[in-house]
């Protein structure tokens, strides 16, 4: 894997204004995305996964803004972009996105051929017959049979899995460098999920894309990701290679998340769940955001935000447990089953 970051997020803070109150959605996040890698961002709903990646494309709602920090891409600071014209140089052509729900993410009144061609015309400077030929080629690429006939059809004539293939085709048609997949399989049924994941993986290889997966499905992570970033309450709490995060997790939140995998439960045993609720992002968070739900929380966890401790050159976690002065805490017993189960590919 190439070790130059294609996109670099530095100390990013994003806030939203909701009903007169301010919500701190992304809290001082730094993240490097390396060329050609597949990074998965995991975390529960509301942890800021989508907000973070939407910020790469200026797609957050108008009531949100970047408070401070930088997003460097090809020598530009995307965080400083203000006009739509600037963003149009990034959207699609540099960074493309696959949305969660294929049932609603296509325009119901336009043929899918027209919707793919629209992207081709915008980003590949092709028109007329050449655009058509290219559109058919991409439909073939995403595994849609009889592309000539299908291109004339409308979204309602496609099944959920097929629609997601069309959405992926649109993203590919933009010929992006980075592909963001925002829970691409959540809305699909299990048998289709695997097909779509394979499809994305093949296309990523064929078109040499850097990929960011947003998901709360750790099964997806294990299947596709080179690296995993775990987000909690608008902050990345642990990041490392898939192997490191799955088999050698250090942050108590990651432990809790992995322990909640239903596959790890034994018959007759109650499934693990994380006690409590995520913190209120309207209030300023002091210390480690996970501390109130963390059975291993130290006194300092409530007072000071932990820095990143390096576990290995590629693996780091934001928890005071890694401080040399901290008491030794063993990861939960149940996580040993992960290795036994051979969770990774």
């Amino acid at each position: 894997m190439d070790q130059t970051p294609i996109l670099s997020v530095q100390n990013l803070n994003i806030k939203f204004s909701l009903r007169g109150k301010q919500l701190h959605a992304i809290r001082d996040v730094s993240l490097d995305l390396y060329e050609g890698e597949t990074l998965a961002i995991v975390g529960e709903s509301g942890s800021g996964k989508s907000v973070l990646t939407k910020a790469f494309m200026g797609l957050n709602d108008l009531n949100g803004w970047i408070e401070s920090g930088h997003i460097y891409y090809k020598g530009q600071d995307l965080a400083a972009f203000t006009t739509e014209k600037q963003w149009l140089t990034i959207r699609g052509g540099e960074i493309a996105m696959v949305l969660q729900d294929p049932m609603t993410s296509l325009n119901p009144l336009k043929t899918i051929g027209a919707q793919i061609t629209e992207a081709l015309k915008l980003h590949r400077q092709v028109t007329g017959p050449e655009a058509y030929r290219k559109m058919i080629e991409i439909l073939n690429d995403v595994g849609i049979a009889h592309p000539e006939a299908r291109a004339k059809q409308y979204p309602h004539e496609f099944s959920g899995g097929m629609r997601q293939r069309v959405v992926i085709a649109i993203a590919i048609a933009c010929s992006p460098k980075i592909l963001i997949c925002d829970e691409p399989t959540t809305a699909l049924d299990v048998t289709i999920q695997a097909q779509i994941l394979h499809l994305i993986r093949d296309l990523v290889r064929k078109y040499n894309l850097t990929t960011v997966y947003i998901t709360h499905d750790l099964g997806v992570v294990a299947n596709v990701a080179d690296r995993v970033a775990v987000m909690y309450a608008g902050d990345i709490v642990e990041i490392g290679s898939s192997r490191e995060v799955f088999y050698d997790a250090r942050h108590p939140y990651t432990w809790a998340l992995l322990s909640s995998l239903p596959q790890l439960g034994a018959k007759g045993e109650a499934l693990f769940s994380i006690k409590g609720t995520p913190p209120n992002l309207y209030a300023e968070i002091k210390g480690d955001a996970f501390a109130p739900r963390n059975p291993h929380a130290l006194k300092i966890d409530f007072e000071e935000r932990p820095p990143f401790f390096d576990v290995s050159p590629t693996h780091k976690a934001r928890t005071w447990l890694l401080d040399p002065r901290a008491p030794h805490v063993e990861p939960p017993e149940i996580l040993k089953r992960l290795k036994k189960a051979g969770a990774l590919k």
Binding site: M57, L59, E84, L88, I90, R91, G92, G93, A96, M97, L99, D101, T104, S105, L106, N107, P108, L109, K110, E118, A119, L122, H123, Y154, H156, V167, I170, A171, A173, C174
Partner: protein, 313 residues
Amino acid sequence: MAKYLLKRIGQSLFTLAIILTVVFIMVRQMPIDGYFDNIDKLDDAVIQATLQKMGLNDPLLVQLKNFFVNLFHGDLGTSARYSAGVPIADIVVRKAPISIKMGLLSMAVSLVLGIPLGAAMARSKNKFWDKFGTVFIVLVNAVPAAVYYIYIQSFGSTLFGVSMLFDEKNPVSWILPVFSMSLGNIAYYAMWLRRYMVDELNKDYVRLARAKGVDSRKITMRHVFRNAFVPMIQYIPTSLLYTVSGSIYIESLYSIPGMGGLLVDVISRQDNPMVQALVMIYSCIGIVGMLLGDLLMAVIDPRISLQKKEGAR
């Protein structure tokens, strides 16, 4: 498509037949006064003879049959009291064109002004055009129409130096009444289009279009507008009906010899044959409007031309 069309036309005819039958039976329940211009001065023998001649003493079913047969030959009957003895078709042909002309003009003005206003409001949510439009809509809806109609008439005629009354041969005199008639519809179209467009703007396909790099003006024009227009089509039947029936108030304010108020007139004067004929004409127009709306919907929305029923959107 052809099959769908035939099915819809068949349904429309069936609906029309039911409406006509119901109106026909209801009119038969009215006092017979409604068939005579001067019943007080007639003696019973004459009355009975006339009723006999008009076929009104026949059994109901025979009358119904005759009514449909006459209708089939384009005979709407004769006015009894409104303008006694004149064929109803003549009255309508004399009055309708002017109302239709004014109505179509006003519909065009409302669409040409209302739709861009609604679109501009949706695009600039909470900014100038949205606020301007909201003030306009609230004003038009809150102030009784009679008040601003009179203002428009008196100020407009002094400002532009046009006559306060309508003159068919002078197109300038059309401006004020057409504009007055349009105001309400401009507000109506703008309000609903804004609402539907704002709904559409929050949908995922708009997000995807943004993510693929389409600029916001093109998103509005190419993606959102057409989707927002589909539910707007349901207002076509009513608009069409208003177009033909004319605006009572405007027509009397400017002395326009149109259809406005004709139905109310003939009902209050108990002109039974005319009530029957006018209700039939208006129902026809309403039904044609609905048919038109459905067909337009099928043309714009590919999901509707399907024969089998799909789940509601």
